[in-house]
């Protein structure tokens, strides 16, 4: 069991997400950066879909009432003031503090997983629909299955650095925009705005102009969809988005590059490049292989050998 001393800016529980109910208006939720979430779980020795904490901007302070094996990705951490990284152990009574995120979000996993009430098949917090556990508050108790961890390290050099270039599969509604706007979208950088959240990253840059009048009938939306409201400023939908929307989607960010959007801070820029469905799938396979190389299993500590 862990007690929340300070909750951080916005800390939620996220597993893989709540699937199969989008046709009933239920959002999937799940991590805004699936890669950081998966790596934290793998460092903790968990399946990737295990419930972990998603930390926004700056992290919580947690008092551990039991020994536990934890793992952090995306932010510095201390145990009773001593710096730790990647996978680390805490003893009963120790305090874990997670600092300022490197990007927009960090993930804290515990070996065995955090335990929250299962709502419609998932422990994920749906911030928009109000389903799942409430975001952490001071005094809140987190339940975790105590479980032994294996020392693991993360090798960030094994992971690709996208350098702010994000690949996009054009469509389904690219034909709603003028040819000039479609060119501009892939030619000029966009900057993240401060009102971005788990539902989407709001961008500003070249305004996208529609080539047709009228409104799009409401349709299903995927995570990564780049929606364009009448203002012409695109919004990239993250995992917290609603299942349907009414703005045309000029393109969809490929799964391999979604983590870049999940980590984008206000003021930071991205540039979009169009790719084919085949290239998008190949990029995901490559990233999975890189993830395998990035998790290093360390020799056992002499104390355990």
């Amino acid at each position: 069991m862990m007690e929340v001393v300070r909750p951080g800016a916005l800390t939620t529980v996220q597993d893989a997400g709540r699937f199969g109910l989008a046709h009933l208006g239920v959002a999937s939720a799940g991590p805004a950066d699936w890669l950081g979430h998966a790596l934290a779980n793998r460092l903790a020795g968990n399946p990737e879909t295990t419930a972990a904490l998603e930390i926004t901007l700056h992290g919580p302070t947690l008092r551990c009432h039991d020994a536990a094996a934890l793992a952090v990705v995306g932010a510095p951490a201390t145990v009773d003031g001593a710096p730790v990284r990647d996978a680390f152990a805490v003893r009963r009574g120790q305090t874990v503090q997670i600092g300022q995120c490197v990007g927009a979000r960090a993930y804290l996993a515990v070996a065995g997983g955090f335990a929250a009430e299962m709502v419609l098949g998932s422990m994920s917090t749906d911030t928009m629909g109000g389903l799942g556990p409430a975001p952490l508050t001071a005094g809140h108790t987190l339940l975790a299955d105590p479980c032994l961890g294996v020392p693991r390290r993360l090798d960030p050099a094994a992971l690709p650095d996208r350098g702010g270039v994000v690949r996009v599969v054009p469509g389904p509604r690219a034909d709603w925009f003028t040819a000039a706007s479609r060119r501009a979208f892939y030619a000029k950088p966009y900057t993240a705005l401060p009102d971005s959240d788990r539902t989407g990253v709001r961008l500003t840059g070249a305004k996208l102009v529609r080539s047709r009048a009228g409104e799009l009938p409401t349709e299903g939306m995927v995570t990564g969809a780049i929606q364009v409201p009448p203002s012409g400023d695109p919004i990239v939908l993250l995992a917290g988005h609603g299942p349907t929307g009414g703005y045309p989607v000029i393109g969809v960010v490929i799964r391999a590059d979604l983590p870049v959007l999940g980590q984008l801070l206000p003021g930071q820029g991205v540039r979009f490049v169009p790719v084919t469905v085949e290239a998008a799938r190949a990029a995901y396979v490559d990233l999975r292989a890189a993830m395998g190389r990035a998790i290093l299993r360390q020799a056992l500590h002499p104390r355990f050998s």
Binding site: L131, V252, R255
Partner: protein, 200 residues
């Protein structure tokens, strides 16, 4: 066989566009029933069905199922009666805008058997088609910051009931005590269901 326009929606999803809501319902029902392995969600829209799948999913299996879709007893459509107290905050305003009396508004709103077109906006929020043309109004100029749960409302071509308190720009005609969404049970209404409003 339904005429379907196939649109890419990233590398793990495909958007099937059809010409009418009824066709969308048929395609949606066929895909739900097929329960293809690897498919995470099948989301119905006003003229579309979005199939969201796990990475590596082969979209050809969707083509086969969608091609077979047709009219039939695919959708286990239920008829749900929703009791309404017609004392909504916008009843008088809707009367002014439409030139109808509040008695007429209640009669027209409760005379129709609605069909659940699709859900969205919030868990359990069903967009109901069949609204009398005379009651079709654009959304309010200034949305409310909080509409209470159970509010029975209209906007554009749709009628709806707010399942949970939320911001909203629809015109409020009344309220119901029926729960439209429960975190344990799920949603009361699904695509294709029929709805009748019964004045209390």
């Amino acid at each position: 066989m339904a005429e379907i326009n196939w649109l890419p929606a990233g590398e793990n999803a495909v958007l099937l566009e059809v010409s009418a809501l009824a066709t969308a319902h048929q395609v949606w029902a066929a895909l739900r029933q097929a329960d293809l392995p690897g498919v995470l969600d099948v989301v119905i829209g006003a003229r579309t069905v979005l199939v969201v799948a796990e990475p590596g999913f082969d979209v050809d299996s969707v083509r086969e199922v969608a091609a077979r879709a047709g009219p039939g007893p695919d959708i286990a459509a239920r008829t749900v009666e929703i009791p309404v107290t017609y004392e909504g905050a916008d009843l008088a305003d809707v009367a002014t805008r439409t030139g109808l009396s509040t008695v007429d508004i209640v009669r027209m709103h409760s005379a129709v058997e609605y069909v659940v077109a699709f859900l969205g906006f919030a868990p359990g929020f069903a967009y109901l088609t069949g609204l009398d043309r005379a009651l079709q109004l654009p959304r309010r100029d200034i949305p409310r910051t909080r509409v209470p749960a159970g509010s029975v409302a209209v906007a554009g071509e749709y009628a709806a009931v707010y399942p949970s308190p939320s911001p909203g720009g629809w015109h409020l005609l009344g309220r119901t005590s029926v729960r439209l969404f429960d975190p344990d049970e799920g949603a009361l209404l699904g695509p294709g269901d029929r709805v009748r409003f019964v004045p209390q």
